[in-house]
Symmetry: C2
Subunit: 92 residues, 2 copies
């Protein structure tokens, strides 16, 4: 892979991954994620996990890094959504 | 690229892309997208556009298709957000 293509991939990776970060903070601040569909998020996380495997199969680092980090961020969002939902029920 | 890796890529593409579809319908039904940050969405769309170029540079069809379709869906969400926001202002 020529360097320009690599840079393109790394730049794309930074942009699509960083777009996720505000959502993590929003769910943390709001102590919940009412607007997020658990079903759709689980489909998305499964897809991102497969993209990570795809990147590993091709030894394609931009894909591995972008999807590996997104996998962690998206799992954090879903984990917080469940945690705050259960904590909310516990307080009632 | 061996067939198994291709199938992995196409399956990942279907999952991460289809997770976007409910958001398009939600914005259409709600006639707006208050919970969506325009700035973050523009960063995400730029990233997805770069991923599409990355796929083209590598002639990697799973990447081209996944990001090409996501680019259309995410642009539709942002376009509707602007349209309904302006239409909302116009009615006042």
């Amino acid at each position: 892979m020529d360097p320009q293509t690599s840079y393109l991939g790394y730049l794309a990776a930074v942009l699509t991954t960083s777009a996720f970060i505000p959502q993590v903070f929003m769910v943390w601040r709001q102590r919940g994620a009412p607007g997020i569909s658990t079903g759709m998020y689980m489909i998305f996380i499964t897809g991102v996990a497969l993209w990570t495997c795809y990147g590993l199969a091709l030894s394609d680092w931009p894909i591995i890094l972008a999807n590996g980090v997104t996998l962690v961020l998206a799992s954090a969002v879903l984990g917080m959504k469940w945690y705050f939902a259960r904590a909310g029920l516990a307080e009632r």
